[in-house]
């Protein structure tokens, strides 16, 4: 860490005027805001596609769209939600919070930070634009397996380049976050005083740097197989379509932890605040996060149990996958232990955080079921898998994002949100999301395949229930937008330390914080760090 770290006295650069502010900004708060708005917009674009999917699945037969469009919807829904909504939302949180939490004036590489964001709208223009091409958008599922995906016609090249651009954006964003954490901390902010959100992002950023280039390589091979005559995934040339799956999931499994580790971080900030107790087992949380990240690189083939692998491979990946449940269990245990005998209150962020703990754990359990190789032979490619990953991603990642928004929104805007409406939003979402996804477990166990627009009549009832839950969940999110806009435009003034049980540097500065948070490195006491 640096020594020459002086005051920031002589100038008070504010933002540039007008629209150019957002195009040219190098300020971590501006860029964080851009990321968060972008994520919200993508959340609704992806949500629109989800509504289409649930409308089609409301009844057996084909009502709303033809099968090809349905496949485009499922594929683009996942790509947009993963790369457009959840990842940018977490990067938005990192931008807003990491510099404030570690006591830095801004991100380490501010210009690069601007670029990381501004690649995204262009990448998604390329990707979403494929809907208007002859043959439509990619339709082979978000896992883009060859040879099917290569039959996609005009969209293949656009999709590949869009993924390249998203990858570049993620890698640059991750580099920036790592360097900010490692090099920009206030002198007294030692590693083991860092808030858990910062820790989880440090490790997430490492995962991004290690995983995204592998995805870039995989899609590059798709591109050359289609347009330049290579045979990576062509058995006649000595290649193997299964090889794509290995390369893809070598990226893909770390990716799912990219989507959840920052959520762990957010929840680990919120629960101690409203339990009014320090986080239980802070250090074990750090080690658990690190071991999850490490193990996540050696479990990838649990997505491929049915595809054909030597027995030793099946066994190896089964055991490593189960191993990952151990550090995950440590975390769940610690969250519960933090709440144990705490002076708990249940403001909106806490409600979302508690729901996260419960519902994410359900997703973890279904994950464990899927990890059992012989059992997965039945579950694979059924709605059971869909239920699993929506519990970890919607009631996991998305719930944590929403929890975090309620938790820090008063800090960001200087206004309190409407607590009553926030609770409505919570209860509507939590009930409907379970109506939406829990029946999908039953459908999957009964054998309903995923990614099919039509189904046998015996699946009708639970599909109707699920669709009703889906529409209700979708509608509830409009309330979220209303609350957000209301809070941004006005409302009760928020105190600096918005929640009286909150600890950490971000609560020591004004709400909203000044354009450049820290003029000189702040002091960090043990009490402020750990509560």
């Amino acid at each position: 860490m640096s020594t020459s770290y002086g005051a920031h006295a002589d100038d008070h650069h504010g933002p540039e005027p007008g629209l150019l502010r957002w195009l040219f900004t190098t300020n971590h708060k501006d860029i964080g805001t851009l990321y968060l708005w972008f994520a919200l917009i993508m959340f609704f674009v992806g949500g629109f596609l989800a509504m289409g999917i649930r409308a089609e699945l409301f009844m057996p037969g084909l009502q709303v769209m033809d099968p090809h469009l349905f496949n485009q919807f499922t594929t683009m829904h996942a790509l947009i939600m993963i790369f457009g909504a959840v990842m940018p939302a977490f990067v938005g949180f990192a931008n807003w919070l990491v510099p404030m939490m570690v006591g830095a004036p801004d991100m380490a590489l501010p210009r690069l930070n601007n670029w990381s964001f501004w690649i995204l709208p262009f990448a998604f223009t390329l990707l979403i634009g494929t809907f208007f091409l002859p043959g439509g958008a990619p339709a082979a599922g978000w896992t883009i397996y060859p040879p099917l995906v290569l039959q996609g016609g005009a969209n293949v090249a656009f999709m590949v380049f869009a993924i390249h651009m998203m990858g570049i954006s993620s890698i640059m964003g991750a580099i920036n976050i790592i360097v900010t954490i490692l090099n920009m901390r206030a002198p007294e902010m030692t590693l083991l005083r860092m808030p858990l959100f910062v820790w989880t992002w440090l490790i997430t950023a490492f995962l991004l740097i290690a995983a995204m280039p592998v995805l870039a390589g995989a899609v590059t091979m798709l591109l050359t197989d289609k347009f330049f005559g290579t045979s990576f995934f062509n058995a006649a040339g000595g290649g193997d379509p299964v090889m794509f799956q290995h390369v893809f999931w070598f990226f893909g499994h770390p990716e799912v932890y990219i989507l959840i580790l920052p959520a762990f971080g957010i929840v680990s900030q919120i629960i101690p605040t409203f339990a009014r107790k320090p986080l239980f087992g802070y250090e074990s949380m750090v080690y658990a996060t690190a071991s999850i990240a490490f193990i996540s690189f050696i479990v990838w083939a649990h997505h491929m149990f049915t595809v054909g692998m030597p027995l030793s491979g099946e066994l190896f990946f089964m055991y490593t996958t189960m191993l990952i449940a151990v550090p995950t269990g440590v975390k769940v245990f610690n969250w519960i232990a933090t709440m144990w005998r705490g002076a708990m209150t249940f403001e909106t962020p806490m409600l979302w955080a508690i729901a996260f703990v419960v519902l994410f754990t359900i997703g973890g359990f279904s994950g464990l079921m899927l990890a059992i190789t012989p059992v997965d032979f039945q579950y694979h490619d059924t709605y059971f898998v869909v239920a699993h990953f929506h519990y970890v991603l919607v009631t996991g990642a998305i719930f944590a994002i929403i929890a975090g928004v309620y938790y820090w929104l008063p800090k960001w805007t200087g206004h309190m949100y409407n607590e009553r409406l926030g609770k409505w939003h919570f209860w509507l979402s939590t009930v409907s999301v379970n109506v939406l996804f829990f029946p999908q477990h039953f459908l999957g166990l009964a054998g309903m395949p995923r990614r099919i627009p039509d189904y046998a009549v015996q699946f009708t009832d639970w599909n109707m229930v699920s669709s009703i839950g889906g529409f209700a969940f979708g509608l509830s999110q409009l309330l979220f937008v209303y609350i957000l806009v209301q809070t941004i435009r006005g409302g009760e003034r928020a105190a600096d330390r918005v929640w009286e049980g909150a600890h950490g540097l971000e609560w020591t500065v004004a709400s909203p914080p000044p354009y450049h948070t820290f003029e000189k490195p702040p002091r960090v006491t043990e009490a402020e760090a750990h509560g």
């Binding site: 020459s4 770290y5 002086g6 005051a7 920031h8 006295a9 100038d11 650069h13 540039e16 195009l23 040219f24 900004t25 004036p105 380490a108 590489l109 210009r111 690069l112 670029w115 501004w118 690649i119 262009f122 390329l126 090249a157 590949v160 380049f161 651009m165 890698i171 991750a174 580099i175 920036n176 790592i178 360097v179 090099n183 920009m184 740097i209 280039p213 592998v214 870039a216 390589g217 995989a218 590059t220 091979m221 591109l223 050359t224 347009f227 330049f228 005559g229 290579t230 045979s231 990576f232 062509n234 058995a235 006649a236 040339g237 000595g238 193997d240 090889m243 290995h246 030597p310 450049h516």
Partner: protein, 289 residues
């Protein structure tokens, strides 16, 4: 539009990133159109390339100007260093994907197609009886037709010697820089750039020979795919490295860098060592064994 404030450096407002995004969008969008058969899209690609080149020159120009005017402190220097190292790690993993494909093909998919593997994989032998599964191969479908390979101890070995030597010369340049010996610095940098160009020339000759005389092409089954994608991407990175070193040479001649402060030079040198190490992997696993 930047300010150094009592040591901490905060740049304000920059137009280069958005320009880079527009350039990238234009270039890649144009490329996708070209691949879909729109033959005039190459002009779109040219436009995108021009925008990107202007962006790179402008962005680096700004940063070099700020650096020379002393706007950066030790902390910024460390940020740059760490950023560069993580960037190189991401590049390593990009190559790892292609090495992974190579190993997978050699260890699994090709032998399986020939019927090896636990319990005897039947698919290959049923579909392609008589396929031997030896390496190099263009697969049971004989994709791309019979081809020859480049012997390791010809041009590739010479290229190995060239690249390793250039790793040495760039270190000599670094020592000269630390001893404040400008003449030697420029000389050794020049030698490094020259070796890099020589490498590229030999590589280009080898590619031409492979295509022209050996019928070894990108379309020569999985061997041709892995061979050209690995060596091709490596060649691209060598090109980038040579450009970086060339910029360092010009800057050195203009009197930039001090014995204490020369992050850009070191970044270019690290990058150069990275392409060097990747090459050694290529020489061993692509050419030799």
């Amino acid at each position: 539009m930047a300010a150094a404030n009592g040591g901490y450096y905060v740049p304000h407002g920059t137009k280069w990133p958005i320009m880079g995004s527009i350039g990238m969008f234009t270039l890649l969008g144009g490329f996708a159109m070209l691949l879909n058969g729109n033959s005039s899209a190459n002009w779109i690609m040219v436009a995108g390339t021009v925008i990107i080149v202007v962006m790179i020159i402008g962005w680096f120009g700004t940063v070099i100007g700020e650096s020379e005017s002393g706007a950066y402190n030790a902390q910024v220097d460390i940020s740059f260093r760490q950023g560069m190292l993580w960037f190189i790690l991401s590049e390593v993993l990009f190559f790892a994907a292609f090495f992974g494909a190579l190993f997978y093909a050699r260890i699994y998919s090709v032998p399986w197609l020939a019927g090896e593997g636990a319990g005897g994989m039947m698919t290959g032998p049923l579909l392609w009886p008589g396929f031997e599964g030896t390496w190099p191969t263009n697969g049971p479908g004989d994709i791309g037709g019979t081809f020859g390979t480049i012997p390791a101890f010809g041009i590739p070995f010479i290229n190995t010697v060239i690249l390793i030597s250039s790793g040495g010369t760039v270190t000599l340049a670094h020592w000269a820089l630390k001893n404040n010996d400008r003449g030697k610095l420029c000389w050794w940098l020049f030698v490094t750039v020259a070796l890099g160009l020589l490498f590229l020339a030999l590589q280009a000759y080898e590619f031409a020979y492979a295509y022209g005389d050996l019928n070894l092409t990108l379309g020569s089954g999985v061997y041709g795919s892995t061979f050209f994608m690995l060596t091709g991407f490596h060649g691209l990175h060598v090109t980038i490295g040579v450009i970086m070193l060339l910029v360092m040479l010009i800057r050195s001649m203009r009197g930039h860098f001090t014995p204490q402060n020369h992050f850009a030079f070191e970044a270019a040198a690290w990058y150069w060592h990275f392409v060097d190490v990747v090459w050694i992997g290529l020489f061993i696993f692509v050419y030799w064994f």
